[in-house]
Symmetry: C2
């Protein structure tokens, strides 16, 4: 946790009071004391600093921490959105904090042909499960802008009917391995990156995306797992 983030409802009269993992982090990892300054922020809002004003709970108890916050700075903004054919839930669970940390804004999960059907029943798709994972990623990287997750099982319908309205300005790339690697593009405002399932996009799916303004983008001939490819691509394309 490089920045402690609070839900808007946790801040009252400029004081954030919190327990749980964040409080334990402040007490055990940061060796928090009254008067100590921390990097803080409000989820979906501004970031800044907080000063510890109270720590309750004796040794062994669960601590509760109160911090007087001053949030006046803008958070780093997301720079990329994903059209993602989801990998297995176990892999996805590991990826979500990384996506948040790397600056992803919107994640649209699409039903590409090779997505495993039982993915769509995963508990990971419940907001109460995925939201804390995204917040973990934000607290790691220092941003406060929470990514959103949307589900569009009908991939073709989403691309044909919704994509232009939802992402009118973005540079569109579809990850698709081929012989050579490409240099990162420059000068784009925002990026929309389509990442296929573990077995890859079908030819039809790539053709559909190309028909809707996506260019193929490759890291070269090495075939990477979805999780490696996603993070490697985001690192490569980051402006």
């Amino acid at each position: 946790m490089n920045r402690i983030l609070f839900e808007p409802g946790e801040i009252k009269n400029g004081i954030a009071t919190f327990g749980g993992a964040r409080a334990r982090h402040v007490v055990s990892v940061l060796h928090g004391e009254v008067g100590q300054t921390l990097k803080t922020g409000e989820i979906g809002g501004k970031i800044g600093t907080g000063v510890v004003v109270a720590i309750s709970g004796a040794d062994g108890d669960l601590p509760e921490v109160s911090v007087s916050v001053d949030h006046a700075d803008e958070s780093p903004r997301p720079w990329v959105d994903l059209v993602l054919a989801p990998p297995r839930p176990r892999v996805m669970k590991r990826l979500l904090p990384q996506f948040a940390a790397l600056g992803v804004g919107r994640i649209v999960l699409v039903g590409a042909k090779k997505v495993e059907k039982d993915f769509w029943g995963a508990t990971l798709l419940k907001e109460e499960i995925y939201r804390p994972l995204l917040i973990d990623g934000l607290m790691q990287c220092g941003s406060s802008i929470l990514p959103t997750i949307e589900v569009r099982r009908n991939f073709r319908k989403f691309v044909a009917d919704e994509l232009d309205l939802a992402f009118p300005e973005s540079l569109r790339l579809v990850a698709h391995p081929c012989a050579g690697s490409q240099p990162p593009p420059s000068g784009f405002g925002r990026l929309l990156l389509a990442i296929g399932p573990e077995g890859g996009w079908t030819d039809d799916e790539v053709a559909l995306l190309e028909a809707h303004g996506f260019s193929r983008y490759s890291l070269g001939a090495r075939i990477l797992r979805t999780d490696t490819a996603s993070v490697a691509l985001l690192g490569r394309l980051m402006p």
Copy 2:
């Protein structure tokens, strides 16, 4: 497994015979049949194709597969070496296959100040534990050149005494977050990338690396976990 790799000793008179996970993959995932062509290769040697000549073992038994191989092509070569302050063994275990898949050649594990001391007792440092993880990464990406792992707990001594001899020609970069992200360098022959521990390099350590020809390289202001940063950096820097 996008390429089935064999130990040199497994290939006799042009026939590779193997059981275990690779055989199960050929039978269950690839629905292998006699006559089927597979992508194959020899660890540390050439790559090419193999034709299934025999599958033994009835349903429920562990299958054994024999493949007639023709290995005449050069594997993709590694393009980067790492000076790595190792993260926790659990994280490292996940990273090793990804390093192999992304084209890492040599991994020198160094005792930076903030490396957790008990890392050095991890079973992961035994070749019989880490070698299969690296081979998994190679079979994923399609290369056959096995990364090597060396341990240099005395970081300063390694940098001062060994580094110039070991990596005379490489472009040297040290990952170090700062306000702006940098474009990937181009035109280098081989890269040597120094990646710090979870808590970062100390100022002294960065100064030491800079004194030995390393330039700071940053993905920007977002603070990333070692595993995310390593994969993101390799994706960004990949030629």
